[in-house]
Subunit: 125 residues, 2 copies
């Protein structure tokens, strides 16, 4: 057993590379909300309250913090319009669009995962 | 502006569905490490120390907690072999394999993101 595991695997460098890439991606995207918030704003620009309504379960405090983080990392833009009272509209940047494939795959997996959870709950009951 | 945003968008239900899927996925996968740990073990089964070595920056305490979480959620298996001293080998379950596309897209994006960060650092210096 020891021998097999300690042997250098073919394509080990490639494995290390993809692991490094995933770690880099998670460094900016990790957390329970970031990708969902980006997806929410890629779908359409929204006001703070509209985002909170769409992303079920997020508190106003966390949402404010996450939006600030996302703005700092160039994923979203905060537009202030001089209406009375002022309108503040959040929108996804072009850079957020580069995450479309990631969000697509995550959405497909999430749907499949929900089915699996439902099935195992049925089995238990 | 107000009018456009409040109008129901075509395909809004679809948008809400994919948002819900992503939220469900992030519910089990969120955090800075989970997807990287799954990828690390999908590549090959490993001992605790080997995982810590491969996933740069994770502390032993956090790694132990994350491995327990992943085991509970059926993403990894902890195998104990009665050698002296006992060998404990972590391996990815079949269910982890369903995340291959997600990890592939995340890896591709992470690589692209690192290039972007490098470029903007070059511009600043």
């Amino acid at each position: 057993m020891k021998m097999i595991i300690n042997e250098p695997l073919p394509g080990n460098a490639e494995c290390a590379d993809s692991l490094k890439n995933v770690l880099d991606a998670l460094y900016v995207l990790s957390g329970k909300w970031k990708l969902a918030l980006i997806l929410c704003l890629v779908q359409s620009p929204k006001r703070f309250n509209e985002i909170q309504h769409a992303v079920t379960g997020i508190s106003a405090k966390i949402l404010a913090k996450e939006l600030k983080d996302l703005e700092l990392n160039d994923f979203i833009k905060r537009n202030v319009y001089p209406t009375t009272p002022v309108s503040i509209i959040y929108e996804a940047t072009e850079y957020s669009q580069t995450l479309k494939n990631v969000m697509g795959e995550l959405s497909a997996w999430g749907q499949q995962h929900r089915e699996k959870v439902k099935q195992s709950m049925r089995k238990q009951s």
